[in-house]
């Protein structure tokens, strides 16, 4: 899921988290947004909503992982840093739907 600002909403996007006004649920998660709903949401005070789907990543996955290797190149000999790298690698792969 990803968070996008209200002015970038398009019909067909699916809510990943329920839309609340205070504690009251206005739209449940899983709802596909229509133009009508989008203009109602714009009238509310919300700045952004969570929608389903991975964010479009700016660069391809191979590039992203290569950059990750480059970033960690000075700490290869430290086990706790390599453990961290592993977690970050999994996180990045997750962003690409991995």
């Amino acid at each position: 899921m990803r968070k996008i600002s209200v002015d970038k909403l398009e019909a067909g996007m699916v809510l990943a988290k329920p839309l609340l006004r205070g504690t009251m649920v206005i739209l449940g998660e899983g709802t596909a947004l229509t133009e009508t709903w989008i203009s109602r949401i714009e009238d509310m005070e919300t700045d952004s909503v969570f929608i389903e789907g991975a964010a479009e990543q700016a660069i391809p996955q191979e590039e992203a992982l290569a950059q990750l290797d480059r970033r960690f190149q000075h700490v290869l000999d430290q086990p706790h840093m390599m453990a961290l790298k592993k977690i970050v690698k999994e996180h990045i792969e997750g962003l690409y739907g991995g």
């Binding site: 996008i4 190149q73 706790h80 790298k85």
Partner: protein
């Protein structure tokens, strides 16, 4: 090794600084905010806390001799409550086009905002009483770099180039061209502006957290947040490298794998939302 005179001269020039530049898109938002008939403290606090320049201004003001309680406040929402809406309006009005930053600072600001998010996340995970204050420590930890960029642009350029060519960190490279590091510079200003001890130490010791005596936990959190943000590659703080997390610090915080994953996700969500706003 820098001699004392050189250090003093550098310090004097650092302390002469007046204002940090703000993000261009914020200038537009400021005019929108000022036009609202009823601005709430919450709205303002949220807005200010996302901009290191505004945050620095507000904290500097509330900790100044004029108000009479220096060294007390490191939370933006507290600062806003104490300064009051009129004063904040005045501050926002006073920001002009000349306060806008150049491109290379934008990368630094992005890095800083992501650090704020990571720091808050860790503070909440550790059930600390004031996660907002820790978040601000993350937000402002690298203001020393912004100061150096403004007051010593050619030395900074050289340090950047050296870091790039030799594949080393900026922290290493700057020692060659400047009498003091960006951490020292930040420390001087934080002390001059009477920021509370936790903020002073986080800014001054985020590269060497073992030196923190009054706020070891906050400093540790900022030290680690800095590494996490670099690991994710968010923004640009002068070099792309992940620095070693001090082993004692890593031990102190004992973050679980799940907690780390959570932090990375939070950084992600905040930056994707921020990216949409330009």
């Amino acid at each position: 090794m820098a001699d004392n005179l050189e250090l003093q001269r550098m310090r004097a020039k650092v302390e002469a600084i007046n204002a940090l530049p703000t993000v261009p898109s914020n200038l537009r938002k400021i005019s929108v905010m000022l036009e609202k008939p009823r601005l709430t403290m919450d709205e303002i606090a949220r807005f200010v806390a996302n901009d290191p320049a505004l945050t620095t201004k507000v904290l500097r003001m509330v900790n100044s001799a004029a108000y009479g309680f220096p060294g007390r406040i490191s939370s933006v929402s507290h600062a806003i409550m104490l300064l009051g809406l009129n004063v904040i309006r005045g501050l926002l009005i006073g920001i002009s086009v000349f306060d806008l930053m150049q491109k290379n600072m934008a990368g630094l600001w992005e890095h800083s905002c992501a650090c704020a998010v990571a720091a808050r996340c860790i503070a909440q995970q550790k059930k600390m009483k004031e996660p907002e204050e820790v978040s601000i420590c993350g937000l402002l930890h690298d203001i020393g770099k912004a100061i150096v960029m403004l007051q010593f642009p050619s030395e900074y350029e050289q340090a950047l180039r050296e870091a790039k060519e030799k594949d080393i960190s900026l922290f290493e490279a700057e020692k060659k061209y400047l009498a003091a590091t960006h951490a020292d510079v930040g420390l001087w200003l934080a002390q001059k502006w009477r920021f509370p001890a936790n903020l002073v130490e986080a800014i001054g010791y985020h590269h060497r957290p073992q030196l923190a005596t009054q706020a070891p936990l906050e400093t540790a959190i900022v030290h680690i947040s800095d590494s996490f943000v670099r690991a994710k590659g968010v923004g640009f703080a002068g070099d792309p490298f992940v620095s070693t997390i001090h082993p004692a610090t890593w031990q102190m915080l004992q973050l679980s794998d799940d907690e780390i994953r959570d932090i990375l996700t939070q950084i992600d969500e905040s930056t994707s939302a921020a990216g949409e706003e330009t």
